[in-house]
Amino acid sequence: MSDRTVTLEPIASIAKAPLQEQYVSGHRTCAGCGPALAYRLIAKAAGKNTIFIGPTGCMYVANTSYMCVPWTVPWMHAQITNGGSIASGIEAAYQVMMRKGKYDGDFPNIIVMAGDGGTADIGLQAISGAMYRNHDILVISYDNESYANTGIQASSMTPYGSATSFTPPGITVPEGEKFWPKDITAMIYYGHPMVKYVAQASIAYPIDLMNKVRKALNKKGSAFIHVQTACPKGWRFDSSKTVDVAKLAIQTGMWVNYEIDEGKKTLDHVPTKREPVEKYLKTQGRFNHLRPEDVQKIQQFVDGKVAEA
């Protein structure tokens, strides 16, 4: 396997974060877009020697219309189905081209930015294939918990009890979304023995997110990061609250930051006193319809998840 000559150093603080932007101003994402913030931080952490693969999703449609490409680094569209396989092909190409002397640059960071649907639903097969084959790539799932660009339809990572335009609450289905979301990070880690690094991160903790990206890129082989990216359009909150909602997700246990590095699991940002989930649910219009028993159910689910984390 071709080696990188450059190791990405950890970023100590906001003050030490690189000023250079790789995901630049001038894109069509929502005001207050969580995925766009994640994209910017990830690109910043990865730096210049990077290739992004963008499977169809918000970060393709909202970013690139009208021939926009707000990346200073190479970017390639993939179908929503095949972010994992296109990245595999790029990685394979660089391996062989460097071996054959057809490319004399440094081995690039190859990053797939897939949405929750492009990771856990329609894109799962290609990503799982890439992880199984241990291509030297980083797959990031920017999880805004729905198909947002098409008008907020439920994905398999939409939380229980969300109202989406495919899971509207009504007399027969008062809770809206009836199913519990897939645990994609666990699926990737426990289902792919060659994957040595997976992490969950949040836009509420930008330095942690950037350092996880750097750690993942420094690994040889496949790595996976699942980033919760609050979505003002889909979750129905004011665009100024994107980071606040993301933080509340951690404080209530609705989202847990952790990493598994070569088998060692570390929990991050564990709240000293966990807030009730209701506090989080109240901030978002998608949960407006929930009855006390639904909230109770979610609280139990979260309690269980936190207990086993």
């Binding site: 069509r28 005001a31 509207p168």
Partner: protein, 206 residues
Amino acid sequence: MADSKTTSQVKEVTIWASGVIQDAEARDTANCIAAAASKEGKHVQAFDNYIDLPDRVNVPVRKYARISSEEIQEKYLYENEHPNMVVVVEPTLIKGFNILRGMLKGGMLVVNTGKEPEELLKFLPNKELLAAVATIDASKVAEALVDDFMDIEGAAAGVLGRGIGAALAGAVAKVSGYFGLESLKEVVQNTDAAEKGFNNVKIKIL
């Protein structure tokens, strides 16, 4: 050959709004206008701008209503090419965008704001296109904002005129005369807002 631009009898109403937050309201405004004119036997269309999709928070979105005494021949257009009337749900948009694009001389502008019509003129570099500018504080008279997840692009419209759409359509009725207040009241739920929109609109003839 006939020129489709000059032979068209269609009155075009373009509604500008801030994405996501006012998306449903703007669509509702277009639907109210079309439904009211239809009550009077007019040929109508109401549709979303498709080109600017996906809808995003704060992005300018456009909705269109088209009213004609004769059958509308070119039904499949993406945009109103020459709006006779422009309605602005989020007043700030007049600063950032040429909301009068395509307008021929003699057009009308209705803005959802508590400000006086005169105050807006400084933000309109092409104000010479306008025959009238009007303001209505629709957000104030209607109070409620429609916030319905199912009211998104492509889905069938539900109840019309629950929120500020009724008030804005009322103002449009007064300013344009394309349809009467009574017809509007027949199609909207919030008849009070429609009436207030009609009565409270401040018009400045230019």
